[in-house]
């Protein structure tokens, strides 16, 4: 449905996302690598296939940081233009866990919405391509660095768009750690109460959070049963299978938000990363030896050449 149709398959885009995030992480000696493993197919499917988006309205090479919203900053704009214009018929997407920004930027590049140079600006002073995606970062429209607020904002936007008769859907890419926040449940009950069914989410259920495995930090129990108890519709799928995403979307959800629970592997495609378990949230190598070893091993798993470290 995307206007920027290119010849890649969802799987090829997902491979490209993993490769870019891997190379970036090795070069910078750190990054949100595991999130690329778990989320690559979900973001590839959304951007390459499912979302109805217009052509980007912002420059392929992102402009520098242009200031925060203020009455004195009339030229302020968000990074939503990388997803195309906010027209009534187009879908909107929030990346609720803004910590996935690196993966989201890689997705923009792989789907032709941002130039590869954009990723070189990642987390550089004065850049808009921020480490934790900000409103003004490419592909972002709201601040979601504080986890658990994305679904509520999307519910409000979706209600407003339905009232205006807009046909575009409002989508949220979520993380499973967010279900520890009470606001997630407030959002689902409010969406159900107001029959907001133009609201969709896909949740990366990788069982990981900042401190480690979710089961060791705070048990969240049966997410699907909880979502349904609060009035939403939830479907479990294999989060690395685009066909499962296509099928899940056919689930009836009249008057209710649909949340696709994508069960994923936090080291998918990069099995050597398991050596770091359970410290997967942000990968920073402990030594040059570990970095070199991971470079060789993960490159081997991805079927690419190791990054030439002497160049950097």
């Amino acid at each position: 449905m995307t206007q920027l149709r290119n010849e890649k398959s969802v799987e090829e885009v997902a491979d490209g996302i993993r490769r870019r995030v891997f190379e970036h992480t090795i070069r910078n000696n750190g990054g949100y690598l595991s999130q690329a493993c778990s989320a690559a197919e979900q973001l590839a499917w959304l951007y390459q296939e499912e979302l109805h988006l217009g052509a980007p309205t912002l420059p392929m090479i992102p402009a520098p940081f242009g200031g925060v919203p203020s009455a004195d900053n009339p030229d302020y704009h968000t990074g939503a233009g990388y997803n195309g214009p906010a027209a009534p018929e187009y879908d909107r997407l929030f990346i609720a866990p803004a910590h996935y920004a690196l993966v989201a930027y890689a997705t923009l590049i792989e789907t032709g919405r941002m130039a590869p140079e954009g990723l070189e600006m990642f987390n550089k002073d004065g850049s808009s391509v921020e480490m934790i995606g900000a409103e003004h970062s490419p592909g972002m429209e709201v601040h979601n660095g504080t986890l658990g607020i994305g679904l509520s904002t999307a519910a409000g936007l979706a209600w407003g768009r339905a009232r205006r008769g807009e046909t575009g859907r409002t989508w949220v890419f979520m993380s499973d750690g967010e279900v520890q926040e009470g606001q997630t449940w407030e959002a689902i009950q409010a969406a159900a109460h107001h029959r907001i069914d133009n609201l969709y989410a896909i949740m990366d259920v990788n069982d990981q959070q900042c401190d480690g495995a979710m089961s060791s930090v705070m048990e969240v129990r049966d997410i699907q049963a909880k979502i349904e108890a609060f009035g939403g519709v939830a479907v479990w799928i294999d989060g690395h299978d685009p066909d499962a995403m296509r099928a899940a979307l056919k689930t009836p959800h009249e008057g209710k938000p649909l949340i696709i629970l994508a069960r994923t592997d936090p080291t998918k495609g990069m099995a050597p990363l398991m050596a770091r378990f359970p410290r997967l949230h942000y990968v920073r190598f402990k030594s040059e030896e570990e970095r070199a070893q991971m470079n060789t091993d993960i490159a081997g798993a991805l079927g690419v050449d190791p990054v030439k470290l002497e160049d950097h």
């Binding site: 925060v68 919203p69 203020s70 009455a71 968000t78 409103e135 429209e141 709201v142 601040h143 979601n144 660095g145 504080t146 607020i149 509520s152 904002t153 999307a154 519910a155 409000g156 936007l157 979706a158 209600w159 407003g160 768009r161 009232r163 205006r164 009470g182 606001q183 407030e186 959002a187 009950q189 409010a190 109460h193 107001h194």
Partner: protein, 334 residues
């Protein structure tokens, strides 16, 4: 005694909302307490019940703002910033959504005690970038608060009075413009909200004592017209006394202090209000006396400023209005 007006917000909001289809009425289970129950019943398509879930409500309102609507959120002031502070910041204030935060029961206007009394809201809201802060002090200001708030290009927090409200003024709020209630030359008194009525109660007694009071009423706390305040300070001999229904840190007392310090004004300032303390549950008159927020406290503050005892007692002040805790114009004693 001033004319009393029953439920001025109820009529004012309905008129404003019906004239502005992009205005939405949001409530969090305090619908009758915020005088929007008739609006809910008569205009359900413009009303959204968000339940007792303020964190979601603030972010949801941010989403409505993103869709081009102007939600008016109705609840007690405390519930707009204490629990959902993170959402207020990220979903409303930062992106400058046109969300109108209608905070009822400011300060000690509720017998609900600590959990219900917004005593530090101005301090919090004033320090949030992009936020506008308005406060109503009489029925006319309540009647004009919806239009005033909705004229703001960004988020706005309003301290709103409810129930039976005195009419002290005959002109609507002009955002950014302070009211000059008297133009004396000895002492400048600065008040806002319900403390303005208290200062007016003290005026006759102070006149009789030979003190010339200049009295300013603030309905716009942020943005603030510092130049106008400095002109008034320059017109009095002794100094300034502020009286606020709020802690003395971060509210209008601080605002005046900052303005004076920035300009290098060498006059004295006495800040009256809640002094680094929580309040407890009780009637408004009791609380204002107990915590030193009433007309008599103002007289004592002025006496302290200029070092003179005027011999003014409670009997010399204009009568205080005693408001019933339970009455037909309020949904419940809270």
């Amino acid at each position: 005694m001033p004319e009393m007006v029953n439920r001025p917000y109820e009529r004012a909001f309905e008129a404003h909302a019906l004239a502005n289809p992009d205005v939405l009425c949001l409530s969090a289970d305090l619908t009758s307490s915020c005088e929007i129950d008739k609006f809910r019943d008569n205009h359900p398509d413009q009303f959204l019940s968000l339940g007792m879930a303020e964190q979601n409500m603030l972010s949801f309102a941010g989403g409505l703002g993103l869709a081009g609507f102007r939600p008016f959120i109705h609840t007690f002031g405390v519930f707009l910033y204490r629990r959902p502070y993170d959402q207020l910041m990220a979903s409303v204030a930062y992106p400058r959504r046109k969300v109108r935060l209608m905070g009822f029961l400011p300060g000690v206007t509720t017998p609900g005690g600590m959990t219900h009394q917004a005593i530090e809201d101005i301090s919090v809201m004033r320090s949030i970038p992009n936020m506008t802060v308005l406060e109503t002090g009489d029925a006319t200001e309540v009647e004009s608060i919806c239009a005033a708030a909705d004229s703001i290009d960004g988020p706005v927090y309003c301290r709103v009075l409810r129930g039976s409200v005195p009419r002290l003024f005959d002109t609507p709020i002009k955002v950014g413009e302070m009211r000059v209630l008297s133009e004396g030359t000895d002492v400048l008194v600065v008040t806002a909200g319900i403390t303005t009525e208290e200062a007016m109660r003290a005026r006759a007694a102070l006149d009789r004592a030979g003190l010339s009071v200049r009295h300013l009423h603030l309905n716009t706390i942020k943005p603030f017209d510092a130049a106008a305040l400095l002109d008034h300070i320059g017109s009095v001999k002794h100094g300034v006394v502020t009286l606020e229904n709020h802690v003395t840190e971060g509210g209008i007392g601080s605002l005046v202090a900052e303005t004076m310090a920035d300009a290098g004004v060498g006059k004295r300032l006495v800040r009256l209000g809640l002094r680094d303390t929580y309040a407890h549950g009780g009637s408004r008159a009791y609380l204002m006396r107990y915590y030193g927020l009433d007309a008599l406290a103002l007289v004592r503050g002025i006496e302290g400023l200029i070092g003179t005892d005027f011999g003014i007692s409670e009997a010399d002040l204009d009568a205080a209005r005693v408001e019933a805790v339970h009455s037909n114009v309020k949904a419940e004693g809270l």
